[in-house]
Amino acid sequence: MRRLISLLLLLIVALGIFLCFSGASFGAEGASRAGKLTEDKVNFGRRYASRGLEENKAGNIVASVVVNYRGFDTLGEVTVLFIAAVGLAAILHARREEATPSKAEPASLIVFTGCRFLFPLILLLGAYIFIHGHLTPGGGFQGGAVVASGFLLIYLGCRGRGLRSAGVAVAESLSGLAFLAVALVGLAVGGSFLLNFLPKGSAFALFSGGVIPLIYVAIGFKVGSELGGIIDNLSGEAR
């Protein structure tokens, strides 16, 4: 009964959605859209794409948008991430104290050694991704996620090993503070929050883009440590 009603309602919603989008086909620049696409003031995406390179000297426009143009959003997003991690730790805290040591068997030697071998490589990959965030696809979030998946590998493959909570907390706090500090220096130097105050350098070089790599590195650390902390909390290993 419930299923039927749900299906019926979803059918109506689907019909509505279909009728909404039947006019706008995928990827097309319709007459109205094309007219506006060229105006910078109307279409921010167009503006960022056309001026991003000369303004920030960062090849990756998405990185420019995330860190510089919409940097405030990113700050809020990192805050949400932080709050979620803290909330998760608080929710699972009570359970943690009474948790019994995991009875799972240790992984085989091959897995163990493989994981230990792969772990630094994965960290290196993650670091590469967030350091080159302004040049190539990738950045702090992706790099952080890769770093966190490295920790995940350790959790899965090498039982009993993992992050130290204190270390995670320090890394997370420091990276968050670094983000804020860079943003505040911009406020102090040029009068606006998250100002790209460093010399931009020349485009396509590693040291280019002003503060974008710095902030992306900070975000990378923060996301990596937070997601790692989330994994640490959820995996329920009593240590």
Partner: protein, 84 residues
């Protein structure tokens, strides 16, 4: 190319249906990961490599792991679903 993308989308939809259907939560989570993976490839085709990377590492990797941890700490099988 559009044919390939259509294929990806169809696989994604089938995987999503499977994720909805499976009573074994672990299977559902794996199907979910498949959805994310397909979404990631579609992102790549939509000229969004950043998003594709994020979706691949987070959606397909970390999310699955988190789900598995959670299932590990609760129950694996869905209860009998009596429609009410």
């Amino acid at each position: 190319m559009i044919v390939f993308q259509t294929f990806l989308v169809l696989v994604m939809i089938v995987a999503a249906l499977a994720a909805a259907r499976f009573g074994d939560l672990l299977d559902a989570v794996i199907a979910c990961a498949l959805v994310s993976l397909m979404a990631s490839i579609i992102f790549y085709f939509l000229q969004a490599p950043d998003v594709a990377m994020a979706e691949a590492s987070i959606g397909a990797g970390l999310t699955t792991a988190i789900f598995i941890f959670a299932i590990n700490r609760s129950i694996r099988y869905e209860e009998n679903e009596k429609t009410d």
